[in-house]
């Protein structure tokens, strides 16, 4: 009576065992790469003028 249900359950999980990890890994692999905020704000460095100062 429940043999067919057990068989269905086994088949469902064999399919899910292939499908879900593939979905999960590809979802992670293909996600957008967001720009990371820079942690240290460098102060502006200005080049020293060449030549003699007025």
């Amino acid at each position: 009576m429940i043999q067919p249900l057990r068989k269905t359950h086994r088949r469902i999980f064999l399919a899910l065992a292939l499908l879900l990890p593939a979905l999960f890994l590809s979802g992670i692999a293909f996600r957008h790469s967001w720009p990371a905020p820079s942690k240290t704000q460098k102060s502006a460095v200005y080049a020293a003028p060449s030549g003699t100062t007025p």
Partner: protein, 350 residues
């Protein structure tokens, strides 16, 4: 049992189960919102509620899905199975809370009907990172609703256990949809490796437990016994059956539970009439075979529940020859009385 229907047939175990469940859920949500407000002060209350309810529902669904195979692999988990339907209903309610707040926050401020907006605002079905993940969650919620609505014994009885169980197998579809919902939704915007690791661990746990339990069941099913003389089948030795317990054998593709009690042997179908629970994993309590899942009881000699209950399972003729139990593979109609086989030289144990 099924003598009459009640909204919930409360007993002490169910009360304790539900109190622990509700306290756990409330604590989780309170901690999530509390710490969320502290760590992310820019997050709105609605956002915290959406995330708390959604993560609680997702976590509970993992628990619900793990209970079944855990019980197959180790009977110490059986107390968790007893009231699993309440876990499922709470999972749906948390999912509904998540969905309602999500619709209010993201779809109720425009010109469109919020449901129409939910279903049509994103149609990037060809892009994985921009996939309309909210539709996946909505479909999963519909399935969880269907299951919560039909979780009562009334539906189990009227739909019959095989159909009811087939219907409730949709939970696996809901789980697959929710893995998609989380992976293509939350995990696209939140890049924390902790979230990825937690989701991946949950997925691997659910899949491996089900595959392991399914493989174990398959081993029992493949041990099909073949009839020899007089159409009886050599099932097992009398010694291998513990007192007031059963040995389970597979006969013609279905399982038979052979019980030993008080110096006698009786064989009945292994399938409980309530939810198809494994009777052979239960014990004889007060003279009745007691299902380990919800405590439905059957007399081993007749396969019938004691009055006033009306459930009946098939019985099988048995013989004992040279210390081995032989059974007739042909099942008798449910409730047919058969005299148990006496174990030679067995002392009657109380």
């Amino acid at each position: 049992m099924s003598h009459q229907y009640q909204a919930i047939g409360w007993n002490r175990q169910k009360r304790v189960y539900d109190v622990v469940l509700l306290a756990g859920v409330m604590l989780y949500i309170a901690l999530f919102i509390g710490f969320g407000a502290l760590l992310f002060p820019y997050a709105t209350v609605e956002t915290l509620i959406i995330r708390a309810a959604g993560s609680a529902a997702f976590l509970l669904l993992h628990v619900v899905l793990c209970i079944g195979p855990l019980c197959r692999l180790d009977s110490r988990f059986l107390p968790l199975l007893y009231n699993r339907r309440h876990l499922g209903v709470i999972t749906f309610l948390l999912g509904a809370l998540h969905g309602i707040f999500g619709i209010i926050q993201f779809h109720s401020l425009g010109d469109k009907n919020p449901l129409v907006s939910l279903l049509t605002s994103n149609q990037n079905f060809g892009s994985l990172p921009d996939f309309p993940f909210q539709q996946l969650g909505f479909l999963a919620l519909l399935i969880l609703f269907l299951m919560a609505a039909t979780s009562h014994d009334f539906w189990l009885r009227n739909l019959t256990p095989p159909i009811w169980k087939s219907l409730h197998m949709l939970v696996y579809v809901a789980y697959a949809l929710l893995i998609g919902h989380v992976t293509l939704g939350l995990l696209q915007s939140e890049t924390s490796p902790v979230l990825v690791l937690a989701t991946g661990t949950g997925l691997v746990t659910v899949l491996s437990l089900h595959v392991a339990a399914g493989s174990r069941e398959r081993v029992v099913d493949l041990k099909k016994l073949s009839p020899v003389a007089k159409a009886f089948i050599d099932a097992c030795s009398v010694e291998s059956i513990p007192e007031k317990c059963a040995a389970v054998v597979s006969v013609r593709g279905e399982r038979v539970a052979i019980f030993k009690f008080d110096g006698k042997i009786s064989a009945i179908s292994n399938v409980c009439r309530h939810q198809n629970g494994p009777l052979g994993e239960g014990k004889i309590i007060n003279g009745c075979v007691t299902c380990p899942w919800h405590g439905y009881q059957y007399l081993p000699e007749t396969g019938a529940s004691p009055p006033p209950f009306t459930e009946k399972v098939s019985t099988f003729r048995t013989q004992i020859v040279d210390g081995r139990v032989w059974i007739d593979p042909k099942p008798n109609p449910p409730g047919t009385r058969l005299e148990p086989s006496r174990i030679p030289d067995a002392g009657v144990q109380a």
